[in-house]
Amino acid sequence: MFAGCGGGSGGSESSPPAIDPGPLSGVISIEAGSRIDQDTMDQLGFAGASPASAVQVLPASFVLAGYVSGRDGAYDLLNGQRFVYVADAVDSYSVPMAPGETVTLRNSGSRQGNSELELILKGNGLTELSETTSTASPSVSLTLPEGSPDAVYRVDVRVVGNAPVRYVMAKTAGAQFDSLSLDWPNHGFAPGEAIVSLDASRRGAMSALAVGLADAERHLGGNDWLMRMPVQASSRAGNASAMYAETLDWISELRQAPGISGAEPNYLFTSMQQGPALTPVDEDLYRLQWHYDLINGPGAWQLAPGGGSGVQVAVLDSGLFSPDRVNRLWHPDLNANVGAGRDFVDGGNFPEDPGSSVGANVFHGTHVAGTIGAEVNGAGIGGVAFGSEIVPVRVLGEGGTGSSDDLIDAIRWVTGQDFPPVSEPRAQVVNLSLGGLPRIQRLEDAIAFGVNRGVIFVGAAGNSATSVPSYPAASPNVLAVSAVDAGGRLASYSNFGNWIDLAAPGGDASRDGNNDGRADVVWSTSAVAGASGFEASFTGLQGTSMATPHVSAVMALMKEQNNGLSYQNVRALLLDGQLTDYPGSRSDQLGYGILDAARALQANLGQGVTILSPSPSLVSLSNEGKTSELVTLSRIGDAGVSGVTVTQAPDWINVTAPVAEGSDYSLTVSLIESMIEPDTAYRGEILVTYDSDQNGRTLRIPVIAQILSDEQARNAGAHFVILVGTTPDEDGFYWAEAQVAAEAVNGRYEFRFESDDGEEPRRLSEVRPGDYYLVAGTDIDGDGIICQPGEACAEYPISGLREVITIKEGESLSNIRMTTSFTRPTITAETPDILPRPGFRGYRLITQEGDNPQRDIRPRTTQ
């Protein structure tokens, strides 16, 4: 029986620090929400244990791993060893559920085969709901119907078949993804907003705000304010046209209010002339665009208020969506910024993306173009270079594929390599969100011609999760862009390698790196099939294609400042770490780091403008991380800054008044824990206004916060902590060289290995000097292997990116920290350069002395 394994560690009680910490010790924390089935096989393996009859109580939000089996039996022999399993036909849970909430179950099977699982939801008068997994659909889910009481329900997981099965069941708190009403009719004014002129005393503002008539959004200068309709008023509006009507009613009301001398709708375009230029921050969908914060977009737009005006960016792609080809109109959020283009697929000068007759549309070029140059007009989003001109060049046909010949022709056209050559290139920046080509000399020549004329090329590294160079990005004359998620971590699909220049946000739909409750996808312009053909829309996509236009757009902002900027200049800035959040060294995953638009523009500007730039640019507060954060507002530029004031902040944070520190300012943001609901993601922003260069400027600092309430209760099941050799055996298993067991105490595991004392028998907990991987995990199906699908797993230092740990004679590694999870954890640490691993099958536990054929012949000393 397997139960005794790991018990031989002699693991002492919590050792005071004075005692030898051993060669290796540390703590494993547990991913939020983790729970474990009370009768997993490793528990049932203990003598006298039997399947639980009681219902297990779960919280509102959890990720639970469990085990069921139709009958008793034994797994197929593993290296001659026999592991048994015990019948446990059903696991029962009580789960708090609200209507619309969903429980998801995923069947991971076991080494002994794949029984199916039935997920059952019942109780509180509900007609019993059930779903059964299948080979094609190993995941099922049940949603509590609308109209059901918000109560505690019974959820059963029942095995259908004889073989044992591991499973993971999850329920996450909070609402489903917002169903966004994206298509604001393109009326001439911004709904819910007004430009309000106050009586000179400004007491008017106080009185208007005091009675809840309007919320000040931004000071536009003089007595003019941009005001927003209060939420309680605006929430009555059920649809877009009602919203416009209500906005007009509200403006009438404002005109009658004391202290207000005038109120006008926020007419689009007009406000750009009246006040400081609007930026993408003011667009409705900005709140979804985590990717703009990640590249420090708001800081950059202070420095480049023109948004790349006068710069042409060629988008060599699938063309653009046209809602009206007769009048040659483009997507309404792009139209004003699109210049003359060319179609190299079908010929002609109207590079429309026709979509697909059978529905398989991508509208890839439309999405890419939006990230670069969508107009700031209140119609959805703004591009990073919202003032630049898009030159649409179609080189990808239906389905998003194309030929290198068309690409070469297109680059020749864009760079002006006509016969004879035209005097100027047709664009100063070229975006290449395409790839998969080998190195082609003619393509290299076409690009080199452009580079020599001052054109800057930016290319997508590719989505194959490999280091094999993908052209054109891998060309030495093209900036190769890899993709990161919202936590700044390399996206799971992104290519990497020594040819990567920098990284930018490309999204990762499988992650939520910034805890905003949404998958990390990149939002931009698109089109969708409607009742009468395609209609303009917005959508979230992921790929290095989405990362690339962020870089191209910043190149356009830099070109606006300095039209003479060459590719060589850009490379010099890149290698000097001035275009990115340069960590001090280059990596194969992120190149010189993640694009930092504000930094790039500062470097490009040299001097002349003075602004404040926040660091960090996004404040993230949590009871498990920082509950307060010092934000430094660094002065960039030589002129003075005055009147630095916090004018707006969410009510769930305290913000101190900005304090001058030399030429910089600082403020502290603290979470008021009593103001936020546990396990709910909060988002807001701090507005700081100041004056510099005779300009009133506004800085916006996004804040996210979350209180995680379950840390003490987390339990991912009994863990085996093992040191394994760094190469697998011929069956693909990594074998444990030393092993200790740990139970969750107050939501974490503590572990400690011991040095080999040279005495026989060598205990499982004794470790010899050498190179190892340090891993930990559960064996909930009792088959002698940890870290299989459906089992908890932690790897040092980061799950999925393990690194070799070296144990040296007489030295001690303490305070090792890892995180265990049933799924991939959310990580913000810098990602080390580790290659993906093929054919991984799990880590093989030691179940008895002599199990591991390699263990006892390992040399005693290794450097």
Binding site: R106, G359, V362, G399, G400, A509, A529
Partner: protein, 164 residues
């Protein structure tokens, strides 16, 4: 919506056909009435497989998947009293250029056999570097099939027992 914790899951391809199958008895060897409603490059379903929907609740669950941009209008026009929907998904693909369509349909006894035609970019072809999740949406008029066999999608035959 992709739940925060659901990384690594195939998104829930829910909706086993509930007991909507009325016994209207299709004859052996009859060519089944299967039509292609639409295709999409972004179905939001990460694993290859098949999903069925014979009620509007099941359909809405599928249309609610985050990241999909199917032509929901034409899908919702299908009268689920007369036809059921079969969504065959290719799973997540690294670039554009992948697609799946219906190539053949036949029925033997109570088994509906659908052959799929999978397209993918040729090696070395230039492709848009966007993650896609292609699928095809089919409407099946026959009501009395109990078993679905999908060939051509993966190396193995995909079998879905509908059952009662």
């Amino acid at each position: 919506m992709i739940p925060r914790f659901a990384y690594g899951f195939a998104l829930p391809i829910t909706a086993a056909l509930l007991t909507a199958c009325s016994a209207t008895g299709g004859a052996e060897g009859v060519e089944p009435s299967v039509r292609q409603v639409t295709q999409s490059a972004h179905c939001g379903l990460t694993g290859p497989g098949v999903a069925l929907a014979s009620s509007s609740a099941e359909l809405e669950a599928l249309l609610d998947v985050g990241g999909q941009n199917m032509s929901t209008g034409v899908i919702r026009q299908v009268n689920l009293d007369n036809e059921s929907l079969v969504i065959v998904t290719l799973g997540q693909k690294p670039t554009a250029g992948y697609g799946v369509g219906l190539s053949s349909a036949s029925k033997t006894g109570q088994t509906l056999k659908l052959g799929m035609d999978v397209t993918e970019p040729a090696p070395g072809m230039m492709v848009a570097q966007v993650i896609t999740s292609p699928c095809v949406v089919l409407a099946v008029a026959e009501q009395d099939w109990q078993r679905l066999e999908i060939s051509g999608l993966t190396e193995k035959l995909i079998v879905k027992e509908v059952g009662n």
